[in-house]
C-alpha cells in the first residue's frame, strides 16, 4: 500500500464527493482529507470561531456555514442539519486549507515517528527489548526541538510594520531570530543588523536617591522608572551620526568656518556601523524587538526559529531527517539506561552523529547546478 491516502481531487482541488441524498435527515459526511475539517459553528448553530475551512455543496449550491458542524472531530465527520435531496454532493476545502496541505508528503508526523520506532526498534531480540512509550515520545520531542534549531527547515516569518513606538512584540512561538530585514518599494529586502555594542536595553530601571541608592516603595520593593533613558536617547538619536550617511553640509567636514575644529577628525568608516538599513535589538524587559528610528513605518520581515512543538500542526518532521530522528531516539534511550555496555552506546552515538550530518546536508538543499551557476557569476571556470 502506498503512503498517499488522498485522491488527486482531494489533494489538488480539496474536493471529496459523496453519494447522492434522497430526503436524508441530518446527513453526515466522513471526510478522508489529510486536513482536519473545522467548522465555525457548533451543533446548536452558534458561531464559535471565525470561519469554517470547508463548504458543503449540494447540486452545485454552497450550503450556509451555520448549517453544518463537526460531529466527530477524530474521524473528520461533518453533519449537515436539515433534510436534503441532492444528486451531486461534495465537500470542498477552502483555498487556505488546500494550500496548507500542498507539499505535506515531504513531512512525517511525530506520532508516526514514535509508532514506527516502537515497531522497528523495540521488542524481543532487539537492542531495546522494552521501553515505555512516554520515554520514546519524550526523546522524540526533545529531538525535534534540537533539530529545529539547526537542522530542520523550520524557519518561520512574520511581515510587520514598525509603529511609532519602534517596537513589535516577540512572536508567541519564538525561540531565536534568524534575520530581520526591511522591504523597499520594489519588494527587495535589506538586512537590519543587531545593535551589538551600540546601545542596550536595561532589564531593570531602579530610581535612585541623591546618593545613588535605589529607593523603595511602602511594600519594600524597589521603585522603578517607567521608561529607560537609554532607550529614549537611542530612539531619538540621529542614525547618520553613527552610520556616517549624513549630507556633507551637516558633517562639519567640508565646512571651512574657523570654529569647525573637528575638520579632518573623521578617519574612515567602521564597516559594522556604516550602513543605512538601521538596527534592531531584543528588549528582554518589554519582550519586544525594538528598532532604530529610521525604520519607523517601514515594512519588515522577521524570520525566526521555533522548536516545532508550539502547535499540533508543527509536530511534523521532514522525511529527509526521519532516519536521523530514529537514530536520535535510539541513542537517547540506550545512553540513558543502566547496564548498557559502553561500546553499544558509542555505536549508537556514531550512528546518530552520521545520520544527523546526512540530514543537515540533505536539508541544506545544496544543488550542484545552482552552485555552478553562482560560481559562473564569479567568473570561475567549473568543469562539469
Amino acid at each position: 500500500m502506498g503512503l498517499i491516502t488522498e485522491t488527486n481531487a482531494q489533494y489538488y482541488s480539496g474536493q471529496q464527493v459523496f453519494t447522492s441524498l434522497n430526503a436524508v435527515v441530518d446527513p453526515t459526511f466522513a471526510c478522508t482529507f489529510n486536513t482536519s475539517v473545522v467548522s465555525a459553528y457548533n451543533n446548536l448553530g452558534v458561531q464559535t470561531s471565525s470561519a469554517s475551512n470547508y463548504t458543503v455543496y449540494l447540486d452545485g449550491i454552497a450550503q450556509a456555514e451555520n448549517l453544518s458542524f463537526i460531529s466527530d472531530s477524530l474521524n473528520n465527520i461533518i453533519t449537515l442539519t436539515g433534510t436534503y435531496t441532492a444528486a451531486s454532493v461534495y465537500v470542498e476545502l477552502k483555498s487556505n486549507a488546500v494550500g496548507a496541505n500542498y507539499g505535506s508528503y515531504s513531512y512525517i508526523s511525530l506520532k508516526d515517528i514514535v509508532n514506527n520506532f516502537i515497531v522497528g526498534y523495540v521488542g524481543i531480540d532487539k537492542i531495546i527489548p522494552r521501553v515505555k512509550k512516554s520515554d520514546v515520545l519524550f526523546h522524540a520531542k526533545r529531538g525535534l526541538q534540537e533539530f529545529s534549531y539547526d537542522t530542520l527547515k523550520s524557519i518561520k516569518s512574520q511581515e510587520l510594520t514598525i509603529p511609532t513606538s519602534l517596537s513589535v512584540p516577540i512572536p508567541q512561538d519564538y525561540v531565536n531570530y534568524v534575520r530581520l530585514s526591511w522591504i523597499d518599494d520594489s519588494g527587495a529586502q535589506h538586512i537590519i543588523y543587531p545593535v551589538n555594542n551600540l546601545t542596550n536595553s536595561p532589564y531593570t530601571l531602579p530610581l535612585q536617591d541623591s546618593q545613588g541608592i535605589p529607593t523603595q516603595n511602602e511594600f519594600g520593593g524597589n521603585n522603578l522608572a517607567e521608561q529607560s533613558l537609554t532607550e529614549q536617547r537611542w530612539n531619538t538619536a540621529n542614525d547618520s551620526n553613527i552610520s556616517g550617511s549624513g549630507a556633507n553640509d551637516n558633517m562639519y567636514v567640508f565646512d571651512y568656518a574657523w570654529w569647525k575644529l573637528n575638520y579632518g577628525q573623521r578617519y574612515g568608516l567602521e564597516p559594522q556601523t556604516s550602513q543605512s538599513n538601521g538596527w534592531f535589538q531584543l528588549n528582554e524587559r518589554l519582550g519586544t524587538f525594538t528598532f532604530s528610528s529610521n525604520l519607523v513605518d517601514k515594512l519588515i520581515v522577521l524570520e525566526y526559529i521555533s522548536d516545532g512543538l508550539a502547535y499540533d500542526v508543527d509536530t511534523k518532521i521532514p522525511k529527509l531527517a526521519e532516519d536521523a530522528m530514529y537514530a536520535h531516539i535510539a541513542y537517547s534511550i540506550i545512553a540513558s539506561r543502566t547496564n548498557v555496555q559502553e561500546f553499544q552506546v558509542a555505536r549508537f552515538k556514531k550512528d546518530r552523529s552520521a545520520k544527523l550530518r546526512n540530514a543537515k546536508i540533505r536539508l541544506s538543499n545544496i544543488k550542484l547546478g545552482e552552485i555552478s551557476q553562482v560560481m559562473r557569476g564569479k567568473s570561475k571556470w567549473i568543469k562539469h
Binding site: L74, N75, K111, V114, N115, I124, D125, K132, K133, S134, L137, F138, K141, R142, L309
Partner: protein, 261 residues
C-alpha cells in the same frame, strides 16, 4: 440429554474430552483396586489441575522469552507456548464506564493491554502508577493526548487520560486472557445405579447432574498427559494412596525436565 452439535464441536481441535480424561483416571485408579474418584471429586480436581497447567503457561512463556530462540517451524518453544494460551486470548470493550474510569471486562483473568479506540489507529494506552501519572503531567512534553493516552490501573479499573466527552464502554478495548472454563463430567444415573456420561451416544437419562451438562477441558490436547498425571496426583491425596502420588509426581518432574532442557 442429547447434546447439541455446537457443544461437541466447541474447541474440538484444542480441547481435551472430559470423558477421556475421567475414564483414563478411573482406569489407572481402579487398577489393583486402588480406589474410586466420584464425578463430583473429579470435576473439582479437574478444574484445579487445568488451572495449574494454565497458570504454568505464562511462567514457561516468560522463561522461553529470555532463552535463545529458534525460527524453525514447529521447533520454537515460545511459539508452542503461545499456541497453548492463544485460545484464551480475548478482545473486549470495558464492561462499565463512569467519567473517565473504565471497568475491566468481567471475564478478564490476566491483563494484557488496553487501546484508546476513539482515536484514529486506536493507540495503546500506557499503564502508569499514580506516582508516575503525577510526575508525567508535570512534564509539558508528556501531557497525555489522544495519540498518547495513559491510564492508572487500580481496583480492576482504568482511569484513562485524556478524558473524553460522552464516554462509552467501547472507548477502551482490552486485550486479555480469560480464565478457562471449569471442566464438568455430567452424568445421569442408570438403572443399576451406575453413572452414565451425558455425552454417551443415545444418552437419554434424566436428570443430568449437573444440569448445565458436560464441559470439556479447554487446554490443548498436547497437555493431556500432564493433565491426567496432575489429576492422579490429587486423586492419590483424596484416596490416600502414596504410590499414586509418587508415580504421578515423578512422571511430571520428568516431563518438566525434558521441556526445560
Amino acid at each position: 440429554m442429547v447434546l447439541s452439535p455446537p457443544f461437541f464441536l466447541k474447541n474440538i481441535k484444542m480441547a481435551i474430552n472430559v470423558n477421556t480424561v475421567y475414564t483414563t483416571v478411573l482406569t489407572v485408579l481402579n487398577k489393583e483396586q486402588r480406589g474410586y474418584l466420584t464425578p463430583d471429586e473429579f470435576n473439582k480436581v479437574g478444574a484445579q489441575a487445568q488451572l495449574e497447567i494454565f497458570e504454568d503457561f505464562f511462567e514457561q512463556y516468560n522463561q522461553y522469552v529470555r532463552m535463545p530462540k529458534t525460527d524453525v517451524e514447529f521447533a520454537s518453544r515460545m511459539d508452542k507456548m503461545k499456541d497453548e494460551f492463544q485460545i484464551f486470548e480475548k478482545n473486549s470493550a470495558a464492561s462499565a464506564v463512569t467519567g473517565n474510569v473504565y471497568t475491566l471486562p468481567t471475564d478478564l483473568h490476566r491483563f494484557g493491554s488496553a487501546f484508546y479506540e476513539r482515536a484514529i489507529g486506536a493507540p495503546e494506552i500506557e499503564i502508569v502508577s499514580k506516582r508516575e501519572y503525577h510526575q508525567q503531567i508535570l512534564s509539558p512534553l508528556l501531557q497525555p493526548s489522544i495519540n498518547n493516552p495513559i491510564a492508572i490501573y487500580q481496583q480492576n479499573k482504568l482511569t484513562v487520560y485524556p478524558a473524553t466527552s460522552n464516554p462509552a464502554t467501547a472507548d477502551i478495548g482490552f486485550n486479555y486472557i480469560r480464565k478457562p472454563l471449569d471442566p464438568v463430567w455430567a452424568y445421569g444415573v442408570g438403572n443399576l445405579g451406575q453413572y452414565v456420561w451425558d455425552g454417551t451416544p443415545g444418552f437419554s437419562l434424566t436428570p443430568v447432574i449437573p444440569s448445565t451438562g458436560s464441559v470439556n477441558f479447554e487446554i490443548s490436547e498436547m497437555q493431556q498427559t500432564e493433565l491426567i498425571l496432575k489429576i492422579l496426583q490429587y486423586a492419590g491425596v483424596i484416596i490416600r494412596d502414596q504410590a499414586i502420588i509418587q508415580a504421578a509426581s515423578s512422571q511430571l518432574n520428568q516431563d518438566t525436565q525434558n521441556e526445560k532442557s
